[in-house]
């Protein structure tokens, strides 16, 4: 999955582009769901090489981007609490909360914040610092849920009393439903992310493809894999079909990873969750279930039984991140893009995250 293409791969890209052009008889609009796909598309410039009648719009698959400001606020409050060490992924440190400040600012003010690369790293940190309450801010889709579940299970089994979880995990299928239910929706087919399918399989996509009559093609993150996905999606659309297809070349079995699914099921239960930009989506989150709910940093009110969600924090009026996350606006449609909003001074999360659509446009567009 290297970011550079060798000459044979360049030839394959050209051949796939030719096939797509040959298949296309009218305009179509596809959404790539995951921020990793968006970045690969912009990095390789695939959107500029595809025929103009084929529009790619960018989906909400950026965990940092869709995390509600209230969760960030809660994390900031925890990090500023004496005796607490907050651990999370690097991207989360620069996301502004509802007051406009980020975790980096909290850290420079004396708060304890540490970057981790994998959830299980938190286990060693908690063991090494029995004098601190170590809180892991867990964001992500089904891809990071198994490792977070394993962390919770290990902490619970070991009886680690100083490890807590602030969980804001989300699920892809309810987001796709929400995007299609939007009256302005233009999406006619999805390129779904291979790494999510590698965990969850394809079963959850079938009802969506049938109900909304949209093809859903699972792809990888390389230029060739993405174009193969586009070709299959276009082929279905041109033939009036709407199936779920697996074009993930690295090989996600259609059933996904049973052990990972069992782990998620054991530790988490689906719960309603508030997404930045998309609102409260029914059963779109994963929340700790008993007995693991005892690990919740927030106390029991965050458990699976709760359907409450905090209201969306007021965002800057000139930030279109909500519409960008729904695929209703392009980053460059936003009046703040590149002027008041840049990766150095982000107004919205999609400009912060390495998976955010705004950050991708800012980084790769001349």
């Amino acid at each position: 999955m290297s970011q550079r293409l060798d000459p044979p791969q360049v030839a394959q890209v050209q051949a796939l582009l030719a096939s797509i052009r040959a298949r296309l008889t009218r305009p179509w609009t596809l959404m790539e769901v995951c921020g990793g796909q968006t970045h690969a598309i912009l990095r390789h410039g695939l959107d500029q090489l595809l025929p103009p009648e084929l529009e790619l719009i960018h989906g909400p698959g950026c965990p940092v981007c869709v995390t509600d400001a209230a969760v960030i606020d809660r994390a900031q409050a925890l990090a500023a609490t004496p005796g607490v060490l907050l651990c999370t992924y690097g991207d989360m440190l620069r996301v502004p909360g509802s007051s406009g400040i980020d975790l980096l600012t909290v850290r420079s003010g004396g708060g304890r914040v540490r970057i981790v690369y994998a959830p299980l790293d938190v286990l060693a940190i908690a063991r090494a610092h029995p004098e601190l309450t170590v809180v892991f801010l867990a964001v992500g889709f089904e891809t990071t849920a198994p490792a977070t579940a394993l962390l919770a299970h290990r902490a619970w089994s070991e009886g680690l009393t100083n490890l807590k979880l602030l969980v804001s995990l989300v699920r892809v299928p309810p987001a796709l439903e929400a995007i299609l239910a939007e009256p302005e929706a233009r999406v006619q087919g999805f390129l779904a992310a291979g790494h999510v399918a590698a965990v969850m399989g394809l079963a959850e996509y079938e009802p969506i493809a049938q109900r909304h009559r949209v093809p859903i093609v699972v792809t990888g993150f390389g230029a060739l894999e993405l174009l193969e996905g586009v070709l299959r999606c276009v082929s279905q659309l041109e033939q009036g079909e709407h199936r779920v297809e697996n074009a993930y070349l690295q090989g996600a079995p259609d059933s996904g990873n049973g052990a990972a699914q069992a782990l998620i099921e054991r530790v988490f239960a689906p719960c309603d969750r508030l997404w930045r930009g998309l609102g409260v989506l029914r059963l779109s989150g994963l929340c700790l279930r008993a007995p693991y709910v005892a690990l919740a940093a927030d106390g029991p009110h965050q458990s699976a039984a709760s359907t409450e969600a905090t209201p969306l924090a007021p965002e800057e009026p000139v930030c279109l991140s909500g519409r960008v996350l729904q695929g209703l606006a392009r980053p460059t449609d936003c009046p703040s893009f590149g002027t008041h909003c840049s990766p150095d001074r982000p107004l919205g999360a999609p400009m912060v995250s390495s998976e955010g659509a705004c950050a991708a446009y800012h980084r790769y567009r001349p």
Binding site: L5, G45, Y117
Partner: protein, 342 residues
């Protein structure tokens, strides 16, 4: 800095606050460790070093070093401090004449570590034909520095009459890099165990003054020289293009990056072109002299490569063209991705 408590008379195996206090321990450290390794100036130790008069213009630079960990594959903070300053001098085409060394040591630093670093300073200085002629030692309390911080300043003699700098860069100039990129950043990440695997690649840390002297001695009309340290090629080109007011085009496929560096960057989502180097530089010179310059650079580093060219006047932007012929902006990044790398 002084301590009210009586100090032990014998230095233990670690740095104590008294080692920076100007008293007996301080003198002991100087006389038993620092001066024997770095040498005593000809006129004896004084408050300032005296340097012989020079005919031409001088170059003067300073840099501080806070790298974590202190020792990494391919070097340590001592060799980094010497080569870093020698390389800053080299980037204006100067030959190093004298260095200073400021040591800020943390209480509790093993003396054995200090000794290894000082020996490394001496070896690096000897390799560059320069001496540490003046210095200073301070000690801060435990937890106030990561083992040690170093500062080096350097004076150099200008050995040419060229006006090297952004103003000298012309449209059509070739862009060359002196070797493959990103090794230092990956070596530091691996040494910090942040890669999740060990990397066999040492840092590219090396002095560059000989490479530059070779180019100057060949009579090449050097327009721009830039050390590719923090921020890597991306930051250097971005600064240079903006300062020159000229657009630049880089061919992504031409930029030399070792497979292990590319693999580590792909894994962590880092941009190899923005990774730090400590022994690589960018050369800008007329297109007609590019082949001659490359031949010289390759004698010292076979991976040296032509990566692109300076285009016409514009907004001072750098664009990267990929193998599919699509151009995108080369993003210099924020510079916080990898802190404490030098």
């Amino acid at each position: 800095m002084t301590s009210g408590c009586p100090l032990p008379t014998e230095p233990s195996g670690t740095i104590q606050l008294g080692h920076g206090g100007g008293g007996r321990l301080c003198r002991q450290l100087l006389e038993t460790l620092i001066l024997p390794i770095l040498g005593t100036p000809a006129g004896g130790a004084q408050d300032a070093a005296l340097l012989p008069a020079q005919a031409g213009p001088l170059a003067f630079t300073t840099d501080s070093y806070v790298v974590r960990p202190l020792e990494f594959p391919g070097g340590d903070i001592g060799s980094l401090a010497v080569y870093g300053t020698v390389n800053d001098l080299a980037m204006v085409g100067a030959q190093p004449l004298a260095l200073s060394l400021g040591l800020i040591l943390e209480e509790g630093l093993p003396l054995a570590t200090l000794e290894r670093v000082l020996r490394s300073v001496r070896a690096a200085a000897e390799r560059c034909g320069v001496a540490v002629v003046t210095g200073d030692t301070k000690v801060v309390e435990r937890g106030k520095a990561d083992g040690m911080f170093l500062n080096t300043a350097g004076i150099g003699r200008l050995a040419h009459n060229l006006a090297i700098g952004p103003a000298a860069i012309r449209p059509g100039d070739a862009l060359l890099v002196s070797g493959d990129l990103g090794r230092h950043g990956v070596a530091i990440l691996a040494a910090r165990h942040e890669l999740g695997f060990s990397s066999p690649l040492p840092s590219d840390l090396a002095p560059l003054h000989e490479d530059v002297q070779a180019l100057l001695a060949a009579g090449l009309d050097l327009h721009g020289l830039r050390d590719l340290t923090r921020g890597g090629l991306a930051a250097a080109l971005d600064e240079l293009a903006a300062a020159a007011g000229l657009d630049m085009l880089v061919l992504e496929e031409a930029v030399p990056v070792a497979a292990a560096v590319r693999g580590a960057c792909d894994l962590l989502g880092l941009e190899p072109l923005a990774m730090a180097n400590e022994g690589r530089f960018l050369v800008t010179l007329p297109d007609s002299q590019a082949e001659a310059a490359l031949a010289l650079l390759r004698r010292l580093q076979p991976t040296a490569k032509r990566i692109g060219q300076v285009e016409g006047p514009g907004r001072g932007q750098v664009r990267l063209e990929n193998a599919l012929g699509v151009r995108r902006r080369l993003d210099p990044g924020r510079g916080e991705q990898l802190p404490r790398i030098c």
